[in-house]
Symmetry: C2
Subunit: 396 residues, 2 copies
């Protein structure tokens, strides 16, 4: 047997994954899971995928099966440049890098920037997968305060000036876990702060295209191109299983990121990249997306309506204009982790206790993340009403 | 502009990539490249791929597009268990992990084991991509001596006893860069040493199936299952562009590797995994492989024959029974890096100077790695003869 001494010190911080344990129950028969963070398979373009795969072989041939460059398949980067322009991001193909999902970007940027003990500024709460990507590089997290409009610029500035973080990590649009979107004026202010303090911002945007109401808000990247890494993903608009993300980073950073990525996976799947190329060429970012939006919009509405009907008056929750999540906040004294076994075992409804999304342990104990993409409206309404009733009973 | 101070200390060791610079010339018109390390596109099953893709959609449906588990797609791991048994490796599906290429394994194992300054034992020479995967974790390399039969067990033992490495990294079969294969008796001896000294061995085996002559030699893993991580790949037998590797690791190590991988890419492409599942189910590991072998066998022979005809008597070279590379060793005083611009600019033949495959800078200056998979026999024979003549002229 290999001795335990073989493990690197960094594993000490990678160990405790209480969330893995609590999520094991969601596979139980009869469970309605609001705990997921994944798209509905109904959102996948199953009627077009065979044609896309066939076009890949016709148009890309052996290139779809061969090794490729670490920075990404050029035809895909050309299509991505056109797509990014529609978001207000000016990027040449040679400024774009393809990664293995958004996760690949997060590991990548952490690897080339974080020394043990360096400060990383994160929203409170933030995306759990980002913490999982950053933590092996042993940073210190400092949280930035948020309100209903996302991160508060004054807190961003204070954290930067006090702690000089290596970077500020944000999910500005339909955030995971809250569903909140940072409005335009705050984005401009954050861009200014990044410029004034010469601070790197990671703008993680996997959900931005899933807008069910309200108006498009331009990325922070468009206001501070030299200080922001903008990351996008095909996971929510096409399919997560192809593991395809992309980013636009400042030049010097991009060069190191490519070197680091070469050591990690050489490059991202050529076949996935060719599929995404044809997805974009076929105009599916425009013509498939409305189907996803029409699928999810009534689900979000059904969840919110059921919360209004059934959740105790002591609860508040976000009213997202898009994305995949609603964030509920209970009263002082409500512990969503303590309630979790009750909800799952007695009521067969699962969710994620919100405390797991805070970098600082023990905060957000009264919060819950509720996903609305994985069930139809009727199932969602039923599960949320059951959950609301269960919370009332639990609080009595 | 982002300040240079943003970069992590580990980047200092990731910087110098002289090999990237020298390989830029291989794209020049008219160049015959013996520098590659990639399969011939003629080796890809282009006549079967459309059918495989179609079967993937029929048999796996939305699972091929959805998020999957970090350890890998279960139907693939079931097929891999059957395949591994044919190599003499007993592994349940739950002992197998899928990675994004073999490279993903190397980053993965490095991440969970290497503290800055830890010793890693590598062959002299070794696979360059492994050094690129390990180096960001800031190990110290100690080289193990090799001869025509690969790594010398006495050197393995001495390095282990003197330096207590975190692991010993080996490519035992048709090694990159030398093409050498460690024979059975040495494998058993290395397995014994690993067991006696309780040392982890990484057995990287991407080329093992590409045997053109001689007899199969069982993996070291089969003799020391508790001390060896065995890693295989679909890159050389199916297609590298799908970025698919797999491994069997000791249990405690596997658990940490899965946690680390989750932070890096969540999981490997589901579509790639479903394609590989169908590749194995269709028996293509048995019925496609002979076509690859028939393609490469005469190329290796053509290269060796041309070397016999044209290389100076002061050169020696390996006589591989498989794989993708021949390793040439010139006389004292021959500097393959100094000769490189002559070969590429005056003779339009490229190769890789062997010194880049040594962890210790400045060693192996007289060596060259020659790839034979990317050109047909006639082209190879011509390029090798040109190279041989150029070396003779250079040495005069």
């Amino acid at each position: 047997m290999i001795p335990d001494s073989i493990f690197a010190k960094r594993t000490e911080r990678m160990g405790a994954s209480a969330i893995r344990e609590i999520l094991k129950v969601i596979a139980r028969p009869g469970m309605v899971s609001l705990a997921g963070g994944i798209p509905s398979p109904q959102a996948f373009p199953m009627d077009r995928i065979a044609e896309l795969a066939s076009t890949v072989l016709d148009n890309h041939g052996t290139a779809a099966l061969q090794y490729g460059t670490t920075e990404g398949y050029r035809p895909l980067r050309e299509q991505l440049a056109l797509y990014l322009a529609t978001l207000g991001i000016a990027a040449e193909p040679d400024e774009i890098t393809v990664t293995s999902g958004s996760q690949g970007l997060l590991d990548n940027v952490a690897k080339v920037t974080i020394n043990k003990g360096d400060v990383i500024a994160v929203e409170a709460p933030t995306y759990l997968g980002a913490l999982q990507a950053f933590t092996p590089y042993e940073p210190t997290y400092v949280e930035m305060e948020t309100d209903d409009n996302g991160v508060i610029p004054a807190s961003v500035r204070e954290v930067i000036e006090t702690h000089r973080p290596k970077f500020v990590y944000l999910v500005p649009t339909f955030q995971n876990p809250t569903g909140r979107t940072i409005p335009l004026d705050r984005r401009k202010e954050i861009a200014s702060i990044a410029g004034e303090t010469n601070t790197l911002v990671i703008e993680d945007d996997p959900y931005g295209q899933l807008r069910y109401s309200g108006e498009f808000v331009p990325p922070i990247k468009s206001f501070a191109p030299d200080h922001v890494v903008y990351g996008g993903s095909f996971s929510k608009v096409f399919a997560p299983g192809i593991r395809l993300g992309f980013n636009v980073a400042p030049k010097a950073l991009r060069e190191w990121m490519i070197k680091a990525k070469q050591g990690v996976d050489l490059h991202t799947s050529s076949f996935s990249q060719a599929l995404a190329t044809e997805f974009l060429r076929a105009g599916m970012m425009e013509n498939h997306l409305p189907r996803i939006i029409e699928l999810y919009r009534p689900r979000l509405q059904a969840m919110i309506n059921a919360m209004v009907r059934s959740f105790p008056a002591s609860f508040t929750w976000t009213k997202p204009e898009g994305g995949m999540f609603v964030w509920a906040v209970g009263p002082d004294g409500f512990d969503a982790t303590e309630f979790y076994p009750v909800a799952t075992e007695q009521y067969s409804v699962a969710y994620v206790p919100g405390t797991y999304f805070f970098a600082k342990p023990g905060t957000g104990v009264a919060t819950m993340r509720l996903n609305f993409t994985m069930s139809d409206e009727e199932t969602l309404a039923g599960a949320v009403e059951t959950l609301g009733g269960a919370i009332r009973a639990f609080l009595e």
